[in-house]
């Protein structure tokens, strides 16, 4: 049984390496690092199959559609992939940033706040607790958040309670670390509050 498994992984590795040559990420280049790695590996360990790399498992990236924006919202617990929408507003550290199709390529850091996805008249709001947003030049936006919850699932009463609790803690914090932690919590709660009201 182990032999069969070894044989199939051998076949898989060969076929996916060939497949990897046809996969493109944001540019149109062919991944050649794989090749260098494979060659170096074969030199050193000819009897062991080389390990796979994430390039072998990449899903095909959407090609550019100029009229609509393709959005991927991912978080550790859920993903919403390749949705085509009109506009996305992300809470970047420099303020609310709107992303339309054809936006210039950019990498932006996000702060806790509301992320809204506009598709025609349909608006979906998520509370995002921080992360990054990549906007590629082919109208594809990747938003990676540490936590992304739909606004409907946020409970106003507990937000209020925690807000009062942590503003009090912030004022009574002694060490720098405690102050920083309390400040971060207060920031998130302020954003949550404004998200719920606005």
């Amino acid at each position: 049984m182990i032999m069969i498994r070894r044989a199939t992984t051998g076949l898989l590795s060969r076929s996916t390496v060939i497949g990897a040559y046809h996969r493109h990420f944001s540019s149109t280049e062919v991944p050649a690092a794989d090749e260098l790695f494979m060659m170096a590996w074969k030199r050193i360990m000819p009897n062991l199959d080389p390990p796979k790399t994430p390039l072998a498992f990449m899903r095909p990236r959407p090609s550019s559609i100029a009229s609509k924006l393709t959005v991927n919202l991912v978080s550790p617990y859920s993903e919403m992939s390749n949705k085509e929408v009109d506009m996305v507003i992300v809470p970047a550290t420099t303020g609310q940033m709107g992303i339309l199709p054809g936006h210039t390529a950019s990498i932006s850091e996000l702060k806790p706040g509301v992320l809204s996805i506009h598709d025609g008249n349909d608006v979906k709001k998520y509370f995002v607790s921080s992360g990054f947003a990549f906007i590629h030049s082919n109208s594809v936006a990747d938003i990676m958040a540490a936590e992304a919850v739909p606004i409907e699932q946020v409970d106003p009463a507990s937000v209020q309670k925690q807000f009062t609790e942590f503003t009090q803690k912030l004022s009574s914090a002694s060490t720098d670390l405690e102050k920083a932690e309390a400040q971060i919590r207060v920031d998130v709660l302020v954003a949550l509050n404004s998200a719920l009201s606005g």
């Binding site: 991944p31 050193i44 062991l48 390039l55 991927n72 550790p76 550290t93």
Partner: protein, 324 residues
């Protein structure tokens, strides 16, 4: 006349069959083992075979139960692993994955399980880590290990003790979540100097197939260096950086976030692979135990029948000796 000669013939045949011991009416009280000992050991005693059968049956029950437990744990964790698969894709799309990158300080993060009886996945991870270590050691390059999980720690301590920087065990005491993994990632990033982090884990493809995989995360300085030298990351400069004061600050946050995301996915996939491997190991073990039980049953029946036949022969020959 003929009858007398037949009787004589019978006696001649009968004598070798008569046991050297006189027929004992208390024979049944002697245990079969002692019985056989008196006759010389002709076959395995039924008692011994019965003991073996009992222990093999118990083992089969235990391994079947372990397989069920592993199957239920796998179901629980598989959905979470699949949901986390989208997390590292944007990073690889932007920064690429270059396992052949040439850096001075490599850190190999090996992810393994704490418990055993899960087939060969931990050994595969350790083999790959050792090979990566070999690939990345040279005159001005060095590699260090960060080990997650007891099994890899035991294997790597044997011959690479001085290269192990950090050991983390008991990851699965509480259900895996992103907060825990980000704390671990923070620990690693703070305490270990690195230019490239290579995470080695087993990717869960299906219940019977686990692919050893290595994901490479570069430090912000190396990312800048690669971006300047062109190639895959050359496009990075075309991206406007929003937020943060300087580009390097944002890049640092980016690489740290990338590391924690990739780690989260890797830890979940490895946990799935562990449960899947344990399922198949326990399954083949129960099947083996079943086969062994069949063989032992046959032996037991043969032994039992042989001893019954021996008794019958003794009784009959004894009876015929008395008559004739």
């Amino acid at each position: 006349m003929a009858m007398a000669s037949l009787r004589r013939e019978g006696r001649r045949f009968a004598t070798p069959l008569i046991s050297p011991q006189p027929i004992n009416p208390l024979r049944s009280s002697i245990s079969p083992a002692e019985d056989q000992a008196f006759l010389g050991v002709r076959s395995i005693s039924t008692q011994i075979v019965r003991n073996r059968m009992r222990s093999v049956r118990n083992i089969q029950k235990i391994t079947k139960a372990m397989k069920m437990v592993a199957a239920s744990k796998l179901r629980a964790i598989q959905t979470r692993a699949e949901n986390s698969r989208g997390l590292w894709q944007p990073f690889t799309a932007l920064l690429g994955d270059t396992p052949s990158v040439d850096v001075k300080k490599n850190v190999i993060v090996t992810i393994s399980s704490d418990k055993g009886l899960c087939g060969g996945i931990n050994s595969t991870s350790v083999k790959i880590s050792r090979a990566l270590h070999k690939l990345n050691s040279g005159p001005d390059k060095e590699s260090k290990y960060v080990v997650l999980g007891e099994k890899a720690k035991a294997q790597l301590l044997r011959d690479s003790k001085k290269d192990i920087e950090l050991c983390l065990t008991e990851l699965q005491k509480n259900p895996l979540n992103y907060t825990q993994v980000s704390v671990i990632a923070d620990d690693v990033l703070k305490n270990v100097e690195y230019d490239a982090l290579r995470i080695v884990f087993n990717k869960f493809q299906s219940v019977v197939s686990f692919l050893p995989t290595t994901a490479t995360v570069l430090s912000p300085e190396v990312v800048e260096r690669e971006a300047e030298s062109g190639g895959k990351l050359g496009e990075l400069d075309s991206y406007e950086i929003e937020g943060g004061e300087t580009k390097s600050e944002v890049l640092q946050n980016l690489t740290e976030f990338q590391f924690s995301c990739v780690m989260f996915n890797a830890v979940l996939e490895n946990a799935c692979s562990e449960q899947g491997a344990r399922m198949s190991a326990m399954d083949s073990s129960s099947r083996n135990a079943g086969d062994m039980l069949d063989r032992l049953t046959l032996t037991y029946n043969r032994t039992r029948q042989a001893s019954i036949t021996t008794e019958l022969i003794e009784i009959i020959s004894g009876a015929s000796a008395l008559e004739g």
